[in-house]
C-alpha cells in the first residue's frame, strides 16, 4: 500500500490513498488540488469513509464540483473538478 498521484490524461489526474486513515486522505487531497490547474479533474480513490465528509466540505468551501462518485464495499472513487 502506497499513496500514488499520477496524470492520467489531458487535465486529468488520479490520487490513490486507499489503505490510509485520517488525516492522510483529506490532506493528500488538499495537496493534490493545490497542484492541479483550475478546471482539471481529480479522480480520487480512498477507503476511509470519514475522510469523505471532510473532502466534501473542503470542495464546498473551495467551490470545486464533485462530478461523479462511486461508493461501494467500503471503497470510494470520486471525481472532483477543481474550481
Amino acid at each position: 500500500m502506497a499513496m500514488s498521484f499520477n496524470k492520467t490524461g489531458d487535465h486529468e489526474w488520479e490520487l490513490n490513498v486507499c489503505g490510509y486513515t485520517c488525516p492522510h486522505p483529506q490532506m493528500y487531497t488538499k495537496k493534490a488540488l493545490q497542484k492541479i490547474e483550475s478546471g482539471d479533474v481529480l479522480s480520487l480513490k480512498f477507503d476511509n469513509p470519514s475522510s469523505g465528509e471532510s473532502i466534501l466540505a473542503m470542495c464546498e468551501a473551495e467551490g470545486s464540483d464533485l462530478i461523479d462518485r462511486q461508493d461501494a464495499g467500503g471503497s470510494f472513487v470520486w471525481k472532483i473538478r477543481k474550481a
Binding site: 500500500m1 502506497a2 499513496m3 500514488s4 498521484f5 499520477n6 496524470k7 490520487l15 489503505g19 490510509y20 486513515t21 485520517c22 488525516p23 492522510h24 483529506q26 490532506m27 493528500y28 488538499k30 495537496k31 493534490a32 497542484k35 477507503d47 476511509n48 469513509p49 470519514s50 469523505g52 465528509e53 471532510s54 466534501l56 466540505a57 473542503m58 470542495c59 464546498e60 468551501a61 473551495e62 467551490g63 470545486s64 464540483d65 464533485l66 462530478i67 461523479d68 462518485r69 462511486q70 461508493d71 461501494a72 464495499g73 467500503g74 471503497s75 471525481k79
Partner: protein
C-alpha cells in the same frame, strides 16, 4: 458545489444484500448475548444498559463520521469546521438533556479536579490524535468499520494507560518533593498494599490530584443543587453560551467568506449572517443528525443508569457484582469503574491492566486500579462492554451502508497508531480522561474543566498538524518520483 448523484448498484433490495444480512447477524448476536446474560441473572440489565447505549453510540458515530479528533485537527489541516460544529451541536443537546436528568435527581455526574494537569494531558492527547486518525471513541467506531489500524490505536491506549498508572521505577524520583510528602501523609490513612508513595502516578494522584477540587459552575456561583443553578449556571453559562460563541467564531473564521461568495452577498445583513450560520450547521446533514442523536442519548444514558442505581439501591456496579457472587477484580472499596455515562479511556486501561495482571504483573497496588476502578474480568466490565458495543454498533451501521472493509495497517500507519495511541493514553491519564470523559461529559454537566481540556487538546492538535504536515511534505518530496505530489 454541485454534487453528482450517487451511483450505487441496485441489483438487490438493500435488506437482502450480503452486507445487510451480516449486519443483522451482528445485531442478532447482541440480542442473543443479552438474553443469555439476563438468563444468568436479571441484574445484568445494569451491564446491558452500557452495551445497548454503546451500540447506539457506535451506530451514530459511524453514521455521522463523528470523531472529535477531526473536530480540532481538520480545522488546522484542511480548514474544515464540519466536525467542530457537530461536536458543539452534541454538547448543546447533551447539556439540555443533562439538565433535565439533574432536575429529576438522577444525575450520575462527578466533576473533575481542576488543575494544570488538564491542559498538559489534553495537549499530549491532542498531539497524539493527529497521528492516530481518531479520538478515543473515533478509534472504536473505525475499528467497527474493519480498520485494524484503529484496533492498534485501542491496544496502544489500553496498555500505555495501564503501564502509566501502575509502573514504578527511576522516574518516580522526577516528581516534585512536595507531592511525595503530601502522598506520604495520605498513605498513613490508606492500606499498605496500595504502596501510595511508590509509582509516579500514585504520587501524582495522592500528592497532587487529591489536593485539588472539582466543582460545577452552580457551586462556584453559590447555587448548588437548585433548579436555577442547574439551568442558569450549569447549562446556559457553562455549555450553551460557550457553544454559541464557538459556533460564531467557527463561522467567522472558517465558513463566512466562502458562504458569502457562493450566495453572492456583498453586503450581508444580520439575517444573511444568521442564514450563513444555519448553512454551516446543516452543511453536513449526517454529522448534524449524529450530533443531535448522540447529545440526547448521552443524557438519557445518565438517566437510565441513575434510575437503575436507585432501583437496586447501589452507588456502584461493584455492589451489584458482589451481590451476584462475583468478587474477583474489585477494588479494595468493592467498587469497579462505573461512570454511569459515556466514557472511553478508563475501561480500556482496565483491559490492558487485566491482561498485565494475568501475565503476573501486579497492577492492583496502584490507586487507579486498586483503590478506584478495580480490574474486573472483561466479561464483567460494564463500561468495557459499552466500548465493545460502540465497535459492534459501528459495524452494523457500516455493513448496512456497505462501508465495511477489512483494512490492515502498513508499517507507516502502524507506527503512527502505536506512537499516537501511546501518547493518547498518557495524555488521557494525566488529564483524568479523554475528549469524552474529560470534555464532553464535563462541560455538559456544569463542570468548566472540560473547556480547559478542549483548549489543551486544541493546542496539542495544532502542534500535531504542524509536525504531521512537515512529515508529509518531507515524505512526499522524498518519494516525488514515485507519488508525483
Amino acid at each position: 458545489m454541485n454534487v453528482a448523484s450517487t451511483s450505487i448498484a441496485t441489483e438487490a433490495h438493500w435488506l437482502l444484500r450480503k452486507s445487510s444480512m451480516q449486519a443483522m447477524g451482528v445485531f442478532l448476536f447482541v440480542v442473543l448475548g443479552s438474553l443469555w446474560a439476563l438468563a444468568q441473572d436479571t441484574r445484568f440489565v445494569y451491564l446491558l444498559v452500557y452495551v445497548w447505549f454503546g451500540l447506539a453510540y457506535g451506530a451514530l458515530l459511524q453514521y455521522g463520521r463523528f470523531c472529535m479528533a477531526s473536530a480540532v485537527r481538520d480545522l488546522f489541516a484542511v480548514k474544515v469546521p464540519r466536525m467542530a460544529v457537530g461536536v458543539m451541536i452534541a454538547v448543546a443537546l447533551y447539556a439540555v438533556v443533562a439538565a433535565i436528568v439533574s432536575l429529576a435527581g438522577f444525575s450520575t455526574f462527578h466533576p473533575n479536579a481542576m488543575g494544570w494537569h488538564i491542559v498538559i494531558g489534553a495537549a499530549i492527547f491532542g498531539f497524539g490524535i493527529v497521528f492516530t486518525g481518531g479520538c478515543a471513541s473515533g478509534s472504536l467506531y473505525k475499528t467497527g468499520e474493519g480498520n485494524m489500524n484503529s484496533m492498534l490505536v485501542i491496544l496502544a491506549i489500553s496498555f500505555s494507560q495501564a503501564i502509566v498508572v501502575s509502573a514504578s521505577g527511576w522516574w518516580d524520583a522526577l516528581v516534585p518533593r512536595s507531592w511525595l510528602d503530601a502522598a506520604a501523609v495520605q498513605a498513613q490513612n490508606m492500606p499498605a498494599e496500595l504502596t501510595i508513595t511508590k509509582g509516579w502516578f500514585d504520587i501524582f494522584t495522592a500528592g497532587y490530584i487529591w489536593g485539588l477540587k472539582g466543582t460545577t459552575m452552580a457551586e462556584i456561583l453559590g447555587m448548588a443543587e437548585t433548579a436555577r443553578g442547574i439551568i442558569l449556571a450549569n447549562t446556559l453559562l457553562t455549555a450553551i453560551l460557550p457553544v454559541v460563541l464557538i459556533l460564531v467564531a467557527l463561522y467567522v473564521i472558517y465558513y463566512r467568506k466562502g458562504y458569502l461568495r457562493r450566495s453572492g452577498k456583498a453586503n450581508p445583513s444580520l439575517r444573511d449572517e444568521l442564514a450563513g450560520m444555519w448553512a454551516m450547521c446543516t452543511s453536513s446533514r449526517n454529522t448534524a443528525l449524529a450530533g443531535i442523536g448522540l447529545g440526547i442519548l448521552a443524557g438519557l444514558h445518565m438517566y437510565v443508569t441513575g434510575a437503575l442505581r436507585e432501583h437496586y439501591d447501589i452507588f456502584n456496579f461493584g455492589e451489584l457484582l458482589v451481590a451476584m457472587g462475583y468478587t474477583n477484580g474489585l477494588s479494595i472499596q468493592d467498587t469497579v469503574f462505573d461512570p454511569g455515562y459515556w466514557y472511553i479511556t478508563t475501561q480500556e486501561a482496565q483491559w490492558g491492566g487485566w491482561i498485565m495482571q494475568k501475565l503476573g504483573i501486579n497492577s492492583m497496588d496502584s490507586i487507579f486500579f486498586g483503590l478506584d476502578n478495580g480490574l474486573p474480568n472483561p466479561l464483567l466490565n460494564a463500561p468495557g462492554f459499552m466500548s465493545i458495543g460502540i465497535i459492534l454498533g459501528a459495524a452494523i451501521m457500516a455493513l448496512f451502508r456497505r462501508e465495511f472493509k477489512w483494512k490492515l495497517p502498513s508499517w507507516e500507519t502502524a507506527f503512527f497508531a502505536i506512537v499516537g495511541g501511546t501518547l493518547m493514553g498518557l495524555g488521557a491519564r494525566l488529564a483524568m480522561g479523554c475528549n469524552i470523559g474529560a470534555f464532553f461529559a464535563t462541560v455538559t454537566n456544569g463542570d468548566p474543566s472540560g473547556w480547559i481540556f478542549l483548549i489543551g487538546m486544541t493546542i496539542g492538535a495544532y502542534i500535531g498538524v504542524k509536525v504531521f504536515t512537515w512529515w508529509m511534505d518531507w515524505s512526499t518530496a522524498r518519494k516525488a518520483s514515485e507519488c508525483g505530489l
